[in-house]
Amino acid sequence: MPFPLRALAPEEWQAVRLTLAVALRAVGCGLPLAIVVAWVLARKRFPGHAVLNAVVHLPLVLPPVVTGWLLLVVFGVRGPVGSLLLEWFGIRLVFTTTAAALACGVMVFPVMVRAIRLSLEAGDPGLEEAARTLGAGPLDRLFTVTLPLASPGILVGAIVAYATSLGEFGAVITFAANIPGQTQTLPLAIYAALQVPGGEEQAAMLSLVSLALALVGLLASEWASRRLDRLLGRGTAR
């Protein structure tokens, strides 16, 4: 198949913009929660630790379609959460951009939690002890010592999660459907293009864009983690 390089059509640009926006919302809203969960998993021992850990990681191992369907069950207009949202706030989640972001967020949540938890566990508890003796209370220590020292992990987790959520397919199409301009992100648009006779060219173009975005994401995470490590005096680049 010849590879026709050409400018993107307006509706293709729309898919690109939508994909970036959905990923941004997924990571932006998921990150604070991921930090909290990672901190709890890394630092606290309690009954139910293993269960929480398993639930967080479930989207990694479940077929994405199942995750999407579960979201539909919970957040659908007749679901336990979805019905309340509709009743109290008049919010209807399914088949909206927000739903696409939620689906992406759930799918990439374990990616973020893992990266952040690893860097929290690699941290030196001695530095927190030092902060304690210098008069820093728990929240103070968290924001001035623990999180800054875990920042490489947090940043890498966020970037990888962002790049991953650009490619989310199964959960998004199941929970948010394939609506151009609303929920049709790049992978969904590629899939839709392949369903239409003669859509290969469009699919190829969009795939190229996908590839470029993924590559940029990975390079950015590599660059960011090196730079932060150097700032913290770690790693080989002294």
Partner: protein
């Protein structure tokens, strides 16, 4: 006021049960072999270890008294801690590290940023990041950071142990300066006799989780029955005062409890307190009535300058055919290390009067001047 520390704690396989009081201000050195529980005492005093039972009183404030259900967490104790491994925050520059504790202190500062920077000689380091500092520089910054927290008690957990000899020698003078400038109680852990002899006012000896002995450094360092005296580098510590100078002879006269000691010329005004150490193996003993000795000394026939009358307090056998002789002399004690044969010839026994001959060159002055 006095510093009060008492703790009982059971680790798997080891039980710690230590209690002592020490004068405030001043440096109290906790001395003992590795694993004897010194660091446990520090952790308990800082509040980092919640011991089975503990009582800590410093600067008149009760920081812990578990018998009455009181246990302040470390962040509320107002206690500075210098760790063996410095533990500077790697994501902050030196200046931010120094200010970390200062910014979190509500008490009116007793020592300011500028003064600490000056005292520790770290002005050129302020903009650097911790990982670019040498071990000695790091430790100086860590000491400054702890001081700026305006602590009521300063804890130092083997602050020099991870440094080589040259770096140690670089930091010790700063510690001596701090000691003179600050009126703080300091609890200082070490297993280096040198650091003890240079810094300690008071010594607490610990052995396998128990208190072995505690008291003023001049007493503990010279006690024949304690492990310090049995070491090859055992020394007595003398607290003397400058009495006068004889520049033409290039000598300085010191007064040590009524005894005159001659040392190489010092640049210190009369009245100034100086601390001396004398290695036990450098001290020669003579019978008080040694025939001819007085004449020889009067005639200036011996190179030795210092003849100190004393009385034997105790004797103890040590390894390698040595006998330790503890003497009461001057303002305190001397320690002599002699052979069993000498003990027999001189008829040394508790209560016997002797003369201790000490070369001026053997009166070492630690980083005091």
């Amino acid at each position: 006021m006095s510093l009060e520390v008492a703790l009982r704690h059971r680790f798997p396989g080891v039980a710690i049960d230590i209690a002592f009081t020490a004068p405030e201000p001043g440096i109290t050195v906790l001395f003992g072999p590795s694993g004897s529980g010194k660091s446990t005492v520090i952790a308990a005093a800082a509040g980092l270890l919640h011991a089975d039972s503990s009582r800590v009183v410093a600067g008149g404030a009760v920081l812990a008294d578990t018998a009455r259900g009181l246990f302040l967490p470390p962040e509320k104790r107002g206690v500075g801690l210098v760790f063996q491994d410095a533990r500077l925050f790697p994501h902050m520059r030196v200046a931010a590290n120094l200010r970390y504790g200062l910014r979190r202190t509500r008490a009116a500062p007793r020592i300011g940023f500028e003064e600490v920077v000056e005292l520790l000689g770290i002005r050129d380091l302020l903009e650097r990041r911790p990982h670019t500092l040498s071990g000695g520089e790091r430790q100086r910054v860590a000491i400054g950071r702890a001081l700026l927290r305006q602590p009521r008690l300063l804890l130092m957990d083997e602050p020099l142990a991870s440094l080589d000899a040259a770096r140690k020698a670089e930091i010790l003078p700063y510690l001596v300066r701090l000691k003179r400038r600050l009126d703080l109680p300091v609890l200082y852990v070490t297993h280096s006799l040198d650091e003890l002899l240079e810094l300690a006012d008071h010594v607490v000896l610990i052995e396998s989780g128990r208190l072995r002995a505690a008291g003023p450094v001049a007493e503990i360092a010279a006690r024949a029955d304690l492990p310090l005296a049995a070491r090859d580098d055992a020394s007595a510590v003398l607290a003397a005062q400058v009495a006068g100078h004889e520049p033409e002879r290039r000598l300085t006269r010191l007064d040590w409890g009524g005894v005159t000691l001659w040392v190489p010329l010092l640049a210190a005004e009369p009245g100034r307190a100086v601390r001396l150490k004398v290695a036990a193996r450098e001290v020669i003993l003579a019978r008080a009535d040694a025939p001819g000795l007085a004449d020889a000394l009067l005639a200036g026939a011996l190179s030795v300058h210092n003849v100190v009358p004393g009385r034997v307090l105790a004797l103890a056998e040590a390894a390698r055919q040595a006998v330790l002789v503890e003497l009461a002399a001057g303002a305190g004690r001397l320690l002599a290390r002699v052979t069993p044969d000498a003990v027999a010839r001189l008829g040394l026994a508790p209560g016997v009067a002797v003369l201790a001959l000490v070369k001026s060159m053997s009166l070492e002055m630690p980083h005091e001047a």
